[in-house]
Symmetry: C2
Amino acid sequence: MAQDKLISDLKSVPLFKGFSESELGSVKSCLREKTFDKGEVLFREGECCHRVFIVRSGRVKLCRTSSTGREQTLETLGPGDTCACNPGSSTWSCSSTAEAVTSVQVWFLSRDDYIRMVNSNSKISHSLNLLFAKRLQSFSSLIEEVSLKDVKKRLVKFLLDMLHASVPQRGEENLLSLPFTREEIAQRLGAARETVARYLSELKRDKLIDIKPKQIVILDKKGLEKLLF
Amino acid sequence: MAQDKLISDLKSVPLFKGFSESELGSVKSCLREKTFDKGEVLFREGECCHRVFIVRSGRVKLCRTSSTGREQTLETLGPGDTCACNPGSSTWSCSSTAEAVTSVQVWFLSRDDYIRMVNSNSKISHSLNLLFAKRLQSFSSLIEEVSLKDVKKRLVKFLLDMLHASVPQRGEENLLSLPFTREEIAQRLGAARETVARYLSELKRDKLIDIKPKQIVILDKKGLEKLLF
DNA sequence: TCGAATCAGTGACCTAGGTCACAGGAGGAA
DNA sequence: TTCCTCCTGTGACCTAGGTCACTGATTCGA
């Protein structure tokens, strides 16, 4: 019955969207499971990329690091998300570093199995297109933000995005739980830890938010939205 | 015979890689040709995206603009390049603005024809994967550069990339023709026009390059490469 | 429950690079 | 040629935000 659990887990992985039970069965036989502790690196930028990861639980960040040690997070992956290079590309080198933000469970798939799977099943090719396209959209926004918007705007947008994505609790629509350190937020925004802390204080001073441990209370959503322009 | 010319042009479009003559023939029947003058906008960020463009001649830039008018170029498309949103995505909104940098000839394809084509021919789906993956790679580098590298490094990298991509003329391996204004370079790098001019002067002063109208002479390639670290 | 380590806030300082302003080219139409 | 427009270089100035250096909070393992 543990097997059925695995199959049903796989059903909710977007990469395998539309797969039949039997197709999922053959996927299952290729997957290996692995656990990484918080802080461990799944793969490093520039390394040859010989497998594909699917996050089962926990969070993984994809990031790039500068020579002075500053870091920019490109994307954070959660359960169901896939980190796959392009199957047809000749150079399989990772374009970013993947690091476990919490402890994570992943499935991985060898490069050969992956290529075989993509070639034998056109559904996966369509799913990949969808994944890639979404990522392109979000990268393109990130470029705009980092290059054209100041840190305060980026921070406000981040808070509003988080609020939007979070499941609202009864009677606490404005309570935003923030399972990130200031450092992690800063890395996402492409800013320094101290700058994030400063702007959060500023927003608090201006009565737009309230700051609690691991939580932010959105006091004035409209006011925050106004800051975006 | 003009028809054959068109078919042979289509052969060199990566999107249609591996297509047979007859497949290209059916592609041909869906394509419409259109010309844009320098400065004209093919589509604007946020607009509903109801067709796909393939550049036949000239250059098109994909860019985003800030509220204060500063601009960041995401990518420059040349002959054979495709600007396609994801066929499976429900929201067909363009994530950037496309503007003709020179006068351009493009083919376009209606959204419906495009979707039909992708669904009926799995080759195109693979080509799309490849295109998307390449773009992801270049976006990811762009994010790193804009967020973590200073303008001087970005400029030097740009020059070296241009040199690398250019077809070397006999005995003029170090002559780089630069068909861009300072403004265009600045927009690519996510910097101000003046800053680009200043760093170019600095590189000239340091005897690393020489500046001629519409051209740059690379005097010390090794020296430039050293600046990247 | 008590260090030890990791987080968070804040002040002081500095610099990369954006903005403004202007002057000298260089090309193009008339 | 002359005027006009667009491109380029450079100086002066200013500010967003990065870095350093602390001091308090929290959290957590033993």
